[in-house]
Structures are given as structure tokens and as C-alpha cells.
């Protein structure tokens, strides 16, 4: 028995999720090209782990396994985890991270649609708090051959120093701690024209994927615009005040996870704000906190922490930003929901 509307748009959760996966492809390709094929193996490991955990949890919770597995949400989480992690991380860390995301981050909260935290960011934070050293080793550009990379991901003996370097954000913070100024640090080989060498291209690829999502109406403009705008604004103000201690807005926009965060992480609908004004506040606050952590915190990149912090605030943001209902637009602005 079902009732009107009898017409349905041709859409599904699976379609949405697959579109997100497709939009991730340019950036994944770029990362593979720059840092080697270790990433592909990681994606495979993360995907397999995610699907296995999802299936196990679904059957434990007596839910139809096949239908929910097919929705593709576990794959999106897995891919996001894989692209956030340094490409040469040993496999067991990926397994730990992904299963944490799916089991604790998603299903213990009630599964798809119920999780208050972004599962991928939860995994990232758990890993970076537990294994800070491993998590900050990124390989240099074309620093090793494919066989070595795969061997490392699979847990082989590592001679990391030979091929890994710090990420640009890491280099910047270490440099600044050592009293060098920004301009000097930027001279080091880890940096390219604007941000880290190669990193600009990765960021642009994420941006391109994000524009695809926007064009296909999977996400709205609010979160990316507020995120990038706020990031540019705070970093720009700091940079204008003291360019020797604060990196330029261009650097902040293109370094680390800014683009990924703006288009793919903060836009996670389940754990994010839903009202238009709420989205603006949500994304701007993430960018602000991420910048604060980058500039003053102990971790090189703060997007993951910022996202989790704002995830907590989502219910409050949503309640306070309910848009006015048709015919009730002349009421006081916060009269929407209550």
C-alpha cells in the first residue's frame, strides 16, 4: 500500500553516493600521479573494510544487508578516509580507521542518516591522535617506485626518511617554530608556486570535483562558499597584519585539506547543518577553527577537528536558523521553528 505522490523523480541514495564517488576521481587521479599508486591500494583496503564492517553491523542489527550495502554510503566514507591519509600508511591503520568510522562512527549511532559526526573525520582524528608520527609522513613527489609503495602499504620494512617529507603545512609550522619566517620557509623544495609542490594541483582537482557536485545539485553553494570565503578572510586578515608569521590566503586555500573539506567533507548532509543560513554559519565556523588550529594549534591541519566540533553544534544551529515558512515571513526572524 502506498499513496500519493505516485510519481517519483528518478533518484536514489545510491545515485547520490555514486555521483560523489565519481566527483572524487579527478583528485584521486591527481594524487596517484603525484604521490604514487599506494593510494589506490589504500582505497581498495578501505573499501573492503568498510563494506565488511557495514555488512557485519547490518546483520547484527537485523537490517536488510543487500539493500543497505547497495546505497554506496560506506564506500564514500571509505574513499574519504583513504584520500585523507598519507599514501604510504601501513594497511592495518587503514583497517583500524575505517572500521572505527563504520562501526562506532556510523552504526552505533543508528546507521545511515543517524550519525552526528562525520565518520571519515572521526577516523582521521582517531588515527592522528593515536599515531601522530606515522600520520605526518607524506611521500615526496615521485619519491619511490610502485613496488616499494605497495610493499610499504602492505607492511614491509620501511626506510621512510629516504622518501618521505613533511607536508607543506607541516613544513610551515616546523619552520615557524624554528623562527624562520614564512617567506623563507616557502623557499624550501616542499613548496611550489603557491602552496606545497603538487598540492596546488590536488586542491584544484578537488575543486573541480566539487564544481561537478554543485552542477549536479548534489550539494548547494552555501557550504563551499562560506568555507572558502571564511578561510580566505581570516587568513587574509592575519596575513595583512603580519606576512612573516602568517601564510597567505592563497596558501591556505590550496594547502592541506581545504578544498577537500569545503566540497566533500563539510558538505556531508547527515552530520552537517541543513538550513541555508545554518550551512553558512556551519561552514564558516569550520574554516575559522581550522585556520586557528593551523596557525596556533599543535596539529598541522585542523579541518577534521573543526568539522567534529561543529557537528556537535548542528542541532543548535539548525534550530536557530529555521527559515521562515510560507506566509510567516513577517514574524520575528527566529520565529521559524518555535
Amino acid at each position: 500500500m502506498y499513496n500519493s505522490p505516485y510519481l517519483r523523480q528518478n533518484t536514489s541514495v545510491r545515485r547520490v553516493m555514486v555521483t560523489v564517488l565519481v566527483a572524487m576521481l579527478p583528485a584521486i587521479a591527481m594524487q596517484v600521479w603525484l604521490f604514487g599508486i599506494g593510494l589506490l591500494l589504500q582505497i581498495a583496503i578501505a573499501s573492503a573494510t568498510a563494506l565488511a564492517c557495514e555488512a557485519a553491523m547490518l546483520s547484527l542489527r537485523h537490517r536488510p544487508v543487500a539493500r543497505a550495502l547497495g546505497d554506496g554510503s560506506a564506500l564514500v566514507t571509505a574513499w574519504l578516509i583513504a584520500v585523507c591519509l598519507p599514501p604510504l600508511l601501513p594497511w592495518w591503520m587503514i583497517v583500524i580507521g575505517t572500521s572505527f568510522a563504520i562501526v562506532i562512527g556510523k552504526h552505533l549511532y543508528g546507521g545511515l542518516g543517524q550519525n552526528p559526526f562525520n565518520p571519515a573525520m572521526l577516523a582521521y582524528c582517531v588515527l592522528i591522535i593515536s599515531f601522530p608520527a606515522l600520520m605526518s609522513q607524506w611521500p615526496g613527489l615521485q619519491g619511490s617506485d610502485a613496488a616499494t609503495q605497495l610493499d610499504w602499504v602492505l607492511g614491509g620494512e620501511r626506510a621512510l626518511d629516504a622518501v618521505t617529507g613533511a607536508t607543506p603545512l607541516d613544513a610551515l609550522r616546523t619552520g615557524l617554530l624554528g623562527n624562520a619566517d614564512v617567506a623563507a620557509v616557502m623557499q624550501s623544495p616542499a613548496f611550489g608556486h603557491l602552496a606545497g609542490a603538487g598540492w596546488e594541483w590536488v586542491a584544484l582537482a578537488w575543486g573541480a570535483g566539487g564544481l561537478l557536485l554543485l552542477a549536479l545539485r548534489i550539494i548547494t553553494w552555501h557550504i563551499p562558499v562560506a568555507f572558502l570565503g571564511a578561510m580566505a578572510l581570516v587568513s587574509g586578515v592575519a596575513w595583512l597584519i603580519d606576512p612573516s608569521h602568517y601564510a597567505s590566503p592563497a596558501f591556505h586555500l590550496l594547502a592541506g585539506g581545504t578544498m577537500l573539506g569545503a566540497f566533500f567533507i563539510a558538505t556531508d548532509p547527515v552530520s552537517g547543518a541543513t538550513t541555508p543560513r545554518g550551512k553558512l554559519i556551519f561552514a564558516a565556523c569550520i574554516a575559522l577553527i581550522a585556520w586557528l588550529i593551523r596557525a596556533f594549534g599543535a596539529y598541522p591541519d585542523g579541518i577534521a577537528f573543526a568539522v567534529l566540533l561543529l557537528n556537535i553544534c548542528v542541532p543548535l544551529i539548525d534550530i536557530k536558523t529555521q527559515p521562515p515558512v510560507f506566509g510567516h515571513k513577517v514574524e520575528p526572524p527566529d520565529g521559524g521553528a518555535r
Partner: protein, 192 residues
């Protein structure tokens, strides 16, 4: 490490602030407890709870003299609401006081009514009209279905008739079919 601590501290702060704000925003206050309880009770005034009407039962609950699961007409939902209001544990209806039944109204078989007025005296809500030695009628809209008029009737002419659904009172069903129907809830229909 310091950042981790900071993050955790920040988390705690934000959470605390959220909860604080929520408790201020959603604070409720107002009428005294007895009225609040009475507002939940169905006002059938049947006395099945062991008190002569809903208000006395509400007073007894508020005073801690009665449990919250003694009102069959209020049913399971009523108990839940009371549990909610009073912050007590939900418990199933106490069968000693009767079971939940579909709502009925009393109908007097007007051919047999002898006009004794006993039912008028029994009716707690004045839903029966008629004078001595005249045929009585029950105003269906006012009858709460308390059944108090049934036993006193010497001619046994009062029947309880379940209220049937009409086009106007029909309700849309809950869209998702429950996975498992509890067999225990099914025979409730026959009880009437």
C-alpha cells in the same frame, strides 16, 4: 597532546553550553501537577482506577497514593504520557483495574426502558436525558462510555456499542508496517 586536551576541553565547553542553552530554551512551567495529570486522563469518569472519577485519581497520583497504571480507558498511551510527565518508569496497565477496550457508547433500548431514572443518577456526565416513568435516551456525543449506567438498569436495556469509524473520523494509518505484530495486541477487539 596539548591540542588534544584543548579539543576535548573545547568539546566539553560547547556541549555544556548547548545543554545549558537547551534547558533554558525548553524550560516548562505552569499549572499545578494535579491539573496536568488530569489533563492526560481521558475523563471517562468510570471509576475503574478505584477512585470516583478522573480528578480524584489525579489527586491520588500527585499525592503518591496511586500508581500511574490504573486507568484502562487511558490505555497504554495514557500510562506512557503519565510516566513522561512524572519522570517515572513506564509500566504496563494493571490488569486488576481492567483492560483497554475500543471506545463504546451506551445505547438505551427505548422499547424496553421503564423510566426508572436509575441510570440518570449513575451517569457521571449527565449524558442521559429523560424524566421519571418516561423513556430515556443517551446523548451519544456526551457519553464517555464509562459503563456505570449498565449495572443499575433494572430492565437491562442499556447496551454498550463500540464507536465505529466514519469518513470524518477515519485516520490515515502509520505509513510503515511494523515488522512484527505482537500477537498479544490482537485479541483486544474481541474484548468488546
Amino acid at each position: 597532546m596539548i591540542t588534544a586536551l584543548l579539543v576535548m576541553a573545547g568539546l566539553a565547553l560547547v556541549l555544556g553550553a548547548t545543554l545549558g542553552a537547551a534547558s533554558v530554551l525548553f524550560k516548562t512551567q505552569g499549572d499545578p501537577l494535579v491539573d496536568k495529570i488530569d489533563a492526560i486522563l481521558p475523563q471517562t469518569q468510570c471509576g475503574q482506577c478505584g477512585y470516583p472519577g478522573c480528578k480524584p485519581y489525579a489527586t491520588a497520583i500527585a499525592g503518591g497514593d496511586a500508581d500511574i497504571n490504573q486507568c484502562p480507558p487511558g490505555g497504554d498511551e495514557g500510562v506512557r504520557k503519565l510516566a513522561d510527565l512524572l519522570g517515572r518508569e513506564y509500566k504496563p496497565l494493571n490488569a486488576e483495574h481492567g483492560v483497554e477496550k475500543p471506545k463504546s457508547v451506551a445505547v438505551i433500548d427505548e422499547a424496553t426502558c421503564i423510566g426508572c431514572t436509575l441510570c440518570i443518577q449513575a451517569c457521571p456526565v449527565d449524558a442521559i436525558v429523560g424524566a421519571a416513568k418516561q423513556m430515556h435516551t443517551i446523548v451519544g456525543d456526551l457519553c464517555t462510555g464509562c459503563e456505570l449506567c449498565v449495572p443499575p438498569c433494572p430492565a437491562d436495556c442499556i447496551d454498550m456499542v463500540p464507536v465505529t469509524e466514519t469518513v470524518e473520523s477515519w485516520k490515515w494509518r502509520y505509513p510503515v508496517f511494523e515488522l512484527k505484530v505482537q500477537p498479544a495486541t490482537l485479541p483486544a477487539k474481541e474484548a468488546a
